[in-house]
């Protein structure tokens, strides 16, 4: 694990990808790699092994949950911390996401500080893990 957390952000909305990158890099001092969909995320994760994955839920083609399930099948990614960024607010939906094994669920819209702290916490947990 590099001293600077490497974050893979997956979202089909380019504006959000840009805002998230600015928040994490500007406030959190992290390294952010943004992709627009699930297949690209799987390819990038298998290549770079990010420390944390920020995963949008509703995406065309492969959605967030499907991407997560595929991600878990990749070598070395079974325990990769994944934080869902979702505009869904229904409790039923939130419960389903938790059952998928996400480290965090952050509702959109979110504050920059909230996002940065969630990523840092996930990284810290990963580092403390045996």
């Amino acid at each position: 694990m590099s001293p600077v957390p490497r974050v893979l952000h997956v979202d089909d909305d380019p504006a959000i990808r840009e805002v998230v990158r600015l928040m994490l890099e500007g406030i959190g001092g992290m390294e952010v790699d943004s992709v627009e969909g699930g297949p690209a995320a799987l390819a990038r994760a298998s290549q770079q092994r990010p420390d944390v994955v920020l995963l949008d839920v509703m995406m065309p083609g492969m959605d967030g949950p499907q991407t997560l399930r595929e991600l878990r099948t990749l070598e070395g990614c079974a325990d990769l911390p994944v934080i869902f960024l979702t505009a869904k607010v229904m409790r039923r939906e939130m419960g389903q996401l938790q059952q998928l094994g996400a480290a965090r669920i952050i509702q959109k819209p979110f504050r920059a500080r909230e996002l940065v702290e969630a990523v840092r916490a996930a990284v810290e947990e990963l580092r403390r893990a045996p």
Partner: protein, 703 residues
């Protein structure tokens, strides 16, 4: 109809009258028999007295010959004067005595019959002195027999031809000649002498009956028949007599045989060696049977009894008619009630059979007793196949396998999460497919019969609509939040200077844009909450919470907002545990709403106090501000959605008007209550009460 109704009365009256007539006849016969017996006894007495009197009188009159015979037997000679005097005494004494004679038989020439000439006769002058008693053969025979035997001999009287009952009795007085003491012309000396007395029996009988003998009047008089029986010829009546009082006198002529028919008495009266047959008959026969006192009494009693019985029967019939009418009326009422019940049952059956909801009755063993057609439509099982089956056949696994355990537990402790409530469950059709159900189970408490009533509603369509709505809300929320995310994120980056310094005006405009964006987010969240509340979709994740920690977290979360408005957040927390059962996120949402309002309406430099106390098993939380208070005209609408005291108030521009109504719904969903106290123009306290989970709570000092 009326004749039929009165038939018992008529029949009873007829029978009663017949019985009365019969009884009257019996009573009259009894009375007649008794009267006849009495009459016979009385007649016997009367007849006896008549016979005795007659015999006594006859004996007395004919006893004259005995007396005179005895008198002259001892005399030396019979003198005329002496005879006349003696005879006059007897004639006077016995009126029925016709004459008394003294005969002296005079021998004629040899071979010639003895002449029985009358020596003396009394009364004199009746032509008797010249009478030769031997001139009539019967007399002569009597005289000779009397002289020969010395006994009294009776023969027909002197006037036998005219008066058949005239009798003569001859008796010897002297049987040998008495030697003369000298010639005396006036004294007749006879060698022998006979006394003859003549009498009429009818005169004697008249004398006897005229004596008003005892008992004769009592029987209404008697008829006396005297018959001779000394002659060898046919018996013929000698005399007939009847009391004068009898209206039909004289009595009818009867032969001796005729006189001895019917009621009669017979007595033989001796007269000088012969006798007379005396027959006494009642002068008037006993009256034919007629009305008797007993008969009249029986008639009156029978008529009275029959009348009373008829009245009683008529009353009974009338009462029976009343009872019949009452029974008819009651029967009509019962019939009407039965029709009404049947109509009501048809009505209820129509409802049960045509309702879209499935209705089941279940016994205490969990078996189906009845099911309506909707159950068949819903599950695909024929109703007749379901009856008697365990209700678990309508359930999917795992409930199907566990249902028997549910039933046993309920029978043991009557505790159930299903009975008495409305639950959403899953059903399983005959083809194995599952579908959502809304189930209401009630305990019937009927004793015998079904123990539970289950009402089932197929909510597949409703669930589908809810899912569609959820998806719509979710989609709308997503489509609004996604642009808001990039928008607010960008504004935050600008505001925080991460994208370079801004001019003062630009910075102020970024703040305005950011606040508006946040307000839009809150509005979206509140609208979603209101939608959940209105549809009953507000779900709580209940857990035991520490109220103190909850208040601290709420204060922490809102401190920035309070600082922004220059308001101090003070806390007055309980010491020790203040545990409540609730949904942490939702209770924090309530506190945030109340604190946000309090901060917004407090003046800069003001204070908002958060406090918590425990009373009577409850936790009560107060949020008190130092604001202007709630206007009087707004207080009734404080908890209504989209209500704001003053829409133009700048301090309220950040609210949606939904916060307090959402807070009220959340508190009430916890089983609590919320209220406020406002002392306009200064200060308002909003409070809500929750059930305490455990432990006492005491107020602490402000921190």
């Amino acid at each position: 109809m009326a004749l039929t109704r009165h038939a018992p009365t008529i029949l009873l009256s007829g029978l009663g009258l017949l019985a009365t007539v019969g009884s009257v006849r019996l009573a009259n016969r009894y009375e007649y028999g008794r009267d006849r017996a009495r009459h016979q006894v009385a007649f016997a007495d009367a007849a006896s007295s008549v016979m005795l009197a007659l015999e006594r009188e006859v004996t007395a009159q004919l006893g004259v010959v005995e007396a005179m015979s005895a008198f002259f037997r001892g005399s030396e000679r019979v003198e005329a004067e002496e005879f006349r005097t003696f005879a006059a005494v007897f004639l006077e004494r016995f009126p029925g005595l016709e004459a008394v004679l003294w005969l002296e038989p005079t021998p004629e020439e040899a071979g010639a019959p003895t002449r029985y000439g009358v020596r003396f006769a009394e009364p004199a002058g009746a032509g008797l002195a010249a009478l030769d008693f031997g001139s009539r053969a019967t007399w002569r025979a009597a005289a000779e027999e009397a002289q020969r035997t010395g006994s009294s001999v009776s023969v027909e009287g002197l006037e036998a031809a005219e008066r058949p009952l005239s009798r003569v009795v001859v008796r010897r007085a002297r049987e040998k000649e008495v030697p003369g003491q000298g010639a005396r012309e006036e004294v007749a000396v006879a060698r022998a002498g006979l006394v003859v007395a003549s009498t009429h029996l009818d005169d004697v009988a008249a004398l006897v009956l005229d004596e008003r003998l005892p008992g004769v009047q009592a029987v209404g008089g008697v008829d006396l028949y005297l018959f001779t029986d000394w002659s060898q010829g046919p018996v013929a009546p000698l005399h007939v007599h009847q009391v004068d009082q009898h209206p039909s006198s004289p009595a009818p002529a009867l032969t001796a045989a005729g006189a001895q028919e019917g009621v009669h008495a017979v007595h033989r009266i001796p007269i000088g060696g012969a006798s007379v047959l005396a027959v006494v008959r009642p002068a008037a026969p006993l009256a034919a049977p007629g009305w008797s006192t007993l008969g009249v009494f029986v008639l009156l009693a029978g008529v009275a009894l029959t009348g009373a019985s008829a009245v009683a029967v008529a009353t009974l019939v009338s009462r029976t008619d009343s009872v019949t009418r009452l029974v008819d009326a009651r029967t009509a009422m019962l019939r009407s009630a039965t029709w009404e019940l049947e109509a009501r049952e048809r009505h209820l059956r129509a409802i049960v059979e045509n309702t879209v909801d499935g209705i089941l009755t279940i016994d205490d063993q969990g078996r189906i007793c009845t099911a309506n057609p909707a159950v068949e439509r819903m599950f695909g099982f024929p109703v007749e196949d379901l009856v008697g089956q365990p209700v678990s056949v309508l359930m999917p696994e795992p409930h199907r396998g566990r249902h028997e355990g549910y039933v046993q537990r309920y029978r043991a402790d009557r505790a159930s999460r299903v009975v008495g409530g409305l639950n959403e469950v899953e059903g399983q059709r005959a083809d194995g497919t599952r579908f959502p159900l809304e189930l209401s189970v009630s305990a019937l408490g009927l004793g015998d019969g079904p123990a539970f009533l289950g009402v089932l509603r197929d909510i597949s369509e409703r669930k589908a609509v809810e899912r569609m709505k959820d998806e719509f809300v979710s989609t709308v929320s997503h489509e609004l939040r996604t642009p808001l995310t990039s928008m607010l994120g960008s504004l935050e980056l600008l505001r925080d200077g991460l994208l370079g310094p801004l001019s003062e005006t630009a910075s102020r405009m970024v703040d305005v844009a950011y606040d508006s964006g946040e307000r839009l987010v809150r509005l979206i969240n509140d609208i979603l909450d209101m939608e959940r509340i209105s549809t009953g979709g507000l779900r709580l994740r209940m857990e035991v919470l520490d109220g103190t920690e909850l208040l601290e977290a709420a204060a922490q979360a809102n401190r920035g907002f309070a600082d922004l408005h220059g308001v101090l957040l003070a806390r007055e927390l309980a010491t020790g545990p203040a545990l409540v059962l609730g949904d942490r996120d939702r209770l924090l949402q309530v506190l945030t709403n109340l604190i946000g309002n309090a901060v917004k309406f407090s003046p800069p430099g003001g204070r908002v106090l958060l406090s918590m106390v425990r009373t009577d098993g409850h936790i009560v939380v107060h949020v008190t501000d130092q604001g202007p208070g709630i206007p009087e005209d707004f207080r009734a609408r404080v908890f209504q959605p989209f209500s704001q005291a003053d829409a133009t108030d700048r301090r309220g521009s950040g609210g949606t008007g939904l916060g307090l109504s959402i807070a009220k719904a959340i508190v009430e969903a916890h089983g609590g209550s919320i209220w406020f106290e406002s002392a306009a123009p200064r200060g308002t306290t909003f409070s809500f009460r929750l059930l305490s989970a455990e432990g006492p709570v005491t107020a602490g000092a402000p921190t």
